[in-house]
Symmetry: C2
Subunit: 302 residues, 2 copies
DNA sequence: AGAGATGCTTGACGCCGTCAAGTAATGGCG
DNA sequence: CGCCATTACTTGACGGCGTCAAGCATCTCT
């Protein structure tokens, strides 16, 4: 079952499970549309009918009748615009606001009822997964991505991510995950903040990738390690930005050169290294992590 | 913003973003309800009107008219039941099945269009998050939980999980996450499968917890480590099951005793240890991971 | 055999949502 | 300034959804 099919399955079961298709909104005697009108009005008091119709994707005639009825019920007030005599500014009355409050409460209670069997931790997890859904549906905007230092939780994420991604793409066995864990343990334990640094790319709390600048045995030589970007954050120029941040840090820290090890199969990364000024200084076939790979070394003079 | 509020926000934006409220289903000239009827019929050929109405939560009268109309259009056939002359078994005709196929295709295309800006990796992530939503909404059933050995990705998950959970609940600093990573690196590197074992609790691909049985310096003494359950999987008897699996393994591996270290603040876990036959053999206040804790040792004779 | 339950159909009705026409005010253009 | 297209909103007409209630045939239970 591919992603689209899984998404369709979600649409079916979720709308049913949450009763989102209901005509009568929570036995309030109001239509979902009417509630949406009230809710939108509570958010944008003083809008015009047109803007409202636009916002809710409603027929203007239909909306006109709803507004009229609501006015009759005292839920909202319309006052003619001073700018344009054709327009009328619509706002909720106190009664209308009270109703919105009651409806919100009913909606909360309804959601609570549907999640009765789910504990607090589960609810947070549900909410988080939902935010992930919305978040992933809006593609990553490179400008919102921040590069920050490593924090609690990052090491585990990196280990899992590297382990699973390379197992899937290159067939690496568990020893690779272990190696990544070792690198991180060493970094966390023995890091010299003056000349070693991690960059974690993140957008709104969602981790996207990493790159590390660490000291080597050789004086004046920095190592670039754990360069990774989740697939959906690639081709946005993020890799270049991370690489440049890492190089800048290395320069500022006083290193003369920087080296990195990678595998030939990582075409995009290798191309990026070369575009950033790294030169290939070694290439040898070897067996690592249970598969045959061509290990490559790149160097750059800072 | 609490979980319920976040879920409500999702309901609003998601239904809008996916256009699930549309009256006319994808310009097919059919109602969402009609499409649901067809779809349900394609899944359950030969159902009765009652079962259909039940399944789709539709008014029987309304459904009756829809079915009648569909029969007139040659989309379905009704044949009287041999069991019960009041009933009629409804099934799609070839024409009806063809229509369902076309509609499914249109729906796929529609979802694809809405996700046009999202790459393949992002789509999989969306689908996964959706499945998480549905999954978490149905509480964990203890009987579906399996205990398996450690696999790729687990180590990273464990490190992240321990790091974040103990930072949140006990205020532990990053050194705790590092310690967990060290324990895991050591386990992955030097594990003796004959007498060391990890148990990962999982339900439908979702990791719930862990417990490890590892060798100690002292001959005949096993150590229980990394006992953890995600909050939403607690109070299901899972902890006991994991503990028992671990004790059984230790017994079978020939250990004479088992010891574990924990902190006084973990009341539920301590109670479980005692209920399982462990006895408190030491308790001392100390400073660990940046906070003051009371470290406790428990022992059991196997 | 008769009463009540069951499976489905039909009738009546409010109102949603859509198309189209109508009214009043505005603004652009010569 | 005056005409006319445009804009903001209202009103009319209508198909049909969804809901309640009544109706009819059949089954089941006693």
């Amino acid at each position: 079952m591919d992603a689209i099919e899984r998404i369709r399955a979600f649409n079916r079961s979720y709308t049913q499970a949450m009763g989102l298709m209901a005509r009568d909104y929570l036995d309030s005697g109001m239509t979902v549309t009417e509630v949406r009108v009230l809710y939108d009005l509570s958010l944008h008091p003083g809008t015009t009918a047109r803007a409202l119709a636009e916002d809710l994707d409603l027929d203007e005639g239909h909306l006109s009748r709803i507004v009229k009825r609501f006015e009759g019920e005292g839920l909202l007030v319309r006052r003619p615009s001073t700018q344009d005599a054709r327009q009328r500014h619509v706002s909720l009355s106190a009664k209308g606001r009270a109703l919105v409050g009651r409806l919100a409460k009913a909606s909360r209670a309804d959601v609570e009822r549907r999640l009765a069997a789910v504990g607090p931790a589960g609810r947070t997890a549900v909410a988080e997964a939902m935010e992930t859904v919305l978040d992933r549906m809006t593609p990553v905007a490179a400008k919102d991505v921040v590069l920050r230092d490593i924090a609690i939780g990052d090491a585990g994420w990196l280990i899992q991510c590297h382990g699973e991604a390379y197992a899937a793409s290159d067939g690496f066995d568990a020893t690779f995950e272990t190696l990544v864990a070792e690198i991180l343990v060493d970094f966390l334990r023995n890091r010299d903040p003056a000349c070693e640094r991690a960059f974690i790319a993140e957008v709104r709390g969602r981790r996207l990738g990493s790159v590390f600048c660490v000291r080597s045995e050789t004086p004046g030589l920095a190592k670039l390690r754990l360069f990774y970007l989740v697939p959906e954050a690639r081709r946005l120029g993020l890799g270049r930005r991370m690489l440049e941040a890492c190089l800048r840090f290395a320069r500022d820290a006083g290193y003369a050169r920087m080296a990195l090890w990678t595998h030939e199969s990582h075409r995009a990364a290798c191309a990026l290294y070369e575009a950033s000024g790294f030169v290939l200084t070694g290439s040898k076939p070897t067996r690592s992590f249970g598969v045959d790979v061509v290990e490559q070394q790149y160097d750059i003079t800072l």
